[in-house]
């Protein structure tokens, strides 16, 4: 009942198909490890995190190193993994995927900078959103943003279809 292969443009090696393959593989692994029926809330929460990470990771892997943001994301995953395993790595773990609350700081900065050079503030914000955006100039940043948006939409599409599929097969 999977109708996803029909929407793939190039069945051989499009971004979508690569992502789907990887993500489904990760999903099956997670569901195999964690039986859902006997899950405590914390486990459920962990599962949610794992699935989210798996989704982002599969997308990043599908893009490989062709993009700056995917490279940054992959290095972030690797550094986080090494940090979790207990090894003191000298690599600085950049900000985690959940957005920290710098919203307050942002507000004050907004108030200050609205007058002059308003574009700087927004480019900074964009830099925070797009992984690896800190070390890019505006031109590259916009390029990476476009590709990142494209990949995110693919991600959301696929995941939504999987949800629908599960609901249907219920």
């Amino acid at each position: 009942m999977m109708n996803t292969p029909q929407q793939v443009k190039n069945p051989s090696s499009s971004l979508k198909s690569r992502f789907i393959t990887r993500f489904l593989g990760a999903l099956t692994k997670i569901t195999a490890e964690d039986p859902i029926s006997s899950s405590s809330p914390t486990r459920i929460f962990q599962r949610y995190r794992r699935i989210k990470v798996a989704s982002n990771k599969s997308m990043a892997y599908s893009v490989r190193s062709r993009r700056i943001w995917s490279r940054a994301m992959l290095s972030r995953f690797r550094s986080r993994r090494s940090a979790f395993s207990g090894r003191r790595s000298s690599v600085k773990t950049t900000n985690c995927t959940t957005s920290p609350p710098p919203a307050l700081i942002k507000v004050t900065i907004n108030e200050k900078k609205t007058a002059k050079g308003g574009l700087d503030m927004q480019t900074d914000e964009l830099r925070e959103l797009v992984p690896g955006g800190e070390a890019m100039d505006v031109c590259n940043l916009l390029d990476e943003t476009a590709h990142y948006i494209k990949c995110l939409t693919t991600q959301v599409q696929v995941m939504r279809k999987i949800v629908d599929f599960y609901h249907l097969s219920k």
Binding site: I36, Q122, L168
Partner: protein, 427 residues
């Protein structure tokens, strides 16, 4: 006479490398000429006394020839040396060529002064030598170009030969050469400016043949400054990228760059949030989806509609409270609806929800979705709490404002609503 002889002697010593020309020429011309050459000098008169004796024909002949060639440039001070002036007809060929070249050069530039003409003779003789050497080597085209170009148009060649002549003359006649060089340089400068049609820089005669500076005024809108060109390129590229982004992001009809960037930022945040939400609902088995979604669904949908707001869901932690909260909300709404619909609506709006009949909700969702979403589940309300998360836009995520949450709840149906169940949807 005597100064001439001294000059001749000096020139003799300096001209030693170039003395091979007449010898080669003698050999090239062949025997017939040779005979003539031999015979002629014996009978001709020498304008200048030669250092060597003129009695011997065989040994001194060559010396006479050499000396007469050296005396050749100084025989004429006013005009180009004519072949008949030269007593040594043996060098007719050479002299003819040199004379023509000198005439040519004088026509182009105008010779002035003895040292200048001497310079030119040196120049021509050197080029002649080069030409003959090259012809011997079998490259006539190059030789002709070198010979022809060296005098008139090939400024750099002239420059190089000038420098070579510098070395030959040494320091003695530098000022003369300087004059000549500046003259030739001015010639070349004027020629180049005439040919290229740009304003020449004045007074740069010496360096003009090497690099004629052209000060072209920048046309309007076309800066020649490399920085501004780079700046313009950068702006163009950024505009291109912005245009590409405009196509990706919905609601991208903003012309302002700042608002466009805002839109882009919001959209990226929304997409990232959607991934989070979907990963929450995407938790494997079908049985677990519904209760899980129902627990965290209210929170999720509420926050997703706000766009960039921080999702306040730690799903697992708040499971009991979320569940309770939702049912509490439902009970509250039901209670309010008994009293007054308006207050119920207000209460819901305070929470960021609104109330609408299911038919309308489904109509909205089907209208906005791409009809690919088979999730409109109209199961009988007796099934208990049945929560369906239905985001419109099956193909791609829509803007945040179109998330719809339909609740078919038996409790709500009992809460006083007549007929079908109500749907709580986000405006």
């Amino acid at each position: 006479m005597q100064p001439c002889s001294r000059e001749m002697q000096a020139m003799n010593s300096l001209l030693n490398p170039t003395q091979q020309i007449p010898l080669q020429d003698l050999q090239i011309n062949g025997n017939s000429h040779h005979h003539q050459q031999i015979h002629v000098p014996s009978s001709s008169q020498f304008q200048y006394p030669t250092p060597t004796s003129t009695t011997h024909h065989d040994d001194s002949f060559l010396e006479q020839i050499l000396s007469s060639t050296t005396s050749f440039p100084w025989s004429d001070e006013t005009g180009p040396p004519k072949p008949e002036d030269n007593n040594n007809a043996g060098f007719n060929y050479d002299e003819m060529v040199l004379a023509s070249k000198l005439r040519q050069h004088q026509i182009n530039g105008g010779a002035a002064g003895n040292p200048f003409s001497a310079m030119k003779m040196m120049l021509m003789m050197q080029q002649q030598q080069q030409q003959q050497q090259m012809m011997l080597a079998g490259r006539p085209t190059v030789a002709s170009s070198a010979a022809g170009g060296g005098i008139t148009t090939n400024h750099q060649g002239g420059e190089g030969s000038m420098q070579a002549l510098y070395n030959v003359f040494g320091d003695g006649s530098l000022h003369g050469t300087m004059q000549a060089k500046s003259f030739v340089g001015a010639n070349s400068a004027t020629e180049m400016t005439q040919s290229q049609g740009s304003r020449p820089t004045a007074g740069e005669a010496v360096t003009a043949p090497e690099k004629p500076k052209q000060r072209v005024r920048a046309r309007r809108g076309q800066a020649t400054d490399p920085h501004s060109i780079a700046e313009r390129l950068r702006r163009v590229r950024i505009a291109e990228r912005m245009k590409a982004l405009q196509e990706l992001v919905p609601n991208a009809n903003k012309t302002d760059k700042a608002s466009m960037l805002d839109e882009i930022i919001d959209y990226v945040k929304f997409l990232q949030l959607q991934v989070k939400v979907l990963s929450m609902s995407r938790l494997g088995g079908a049985a677990a989806v519904a209760p899980l979604v129902s627990e965290g669904g209210g929170d999720c949908i509420q926050t997703s509609a706000n766009g960039g707001s921080h999702p306040r869901n730690s799903n697992g932690d708040q499971t009991p409270s979320a569940n309770d909260r939702l049912t509490m909300t439902e009970h509250q709404v039901a209670k309010l609806m008994e009293e007054d619909m308006g207050s119920a609506m207000q209460y819901l709006q305070g929470k960021g929800l609104c109330l609408m009949p299911i038919s309308l909700a489904t109509a909205i969702s089907t209208a906005t979705s791409r009809s690919r979403n088979p999730m409109i589940n109209h199961e009988n309300p007796t099934n208990g709490s049945h929560l369906l998360i239905q985001s419109s836009g099956g193909d791609g995520p829509s803007s945040p404002s179109m998330s719809v949450l339909t609740v078919q709840s038996a409790t709500m149906g009992n809460g006083g609503l007549e007929g079908g169940a109500a749907s709580v949807s986000k405006p």
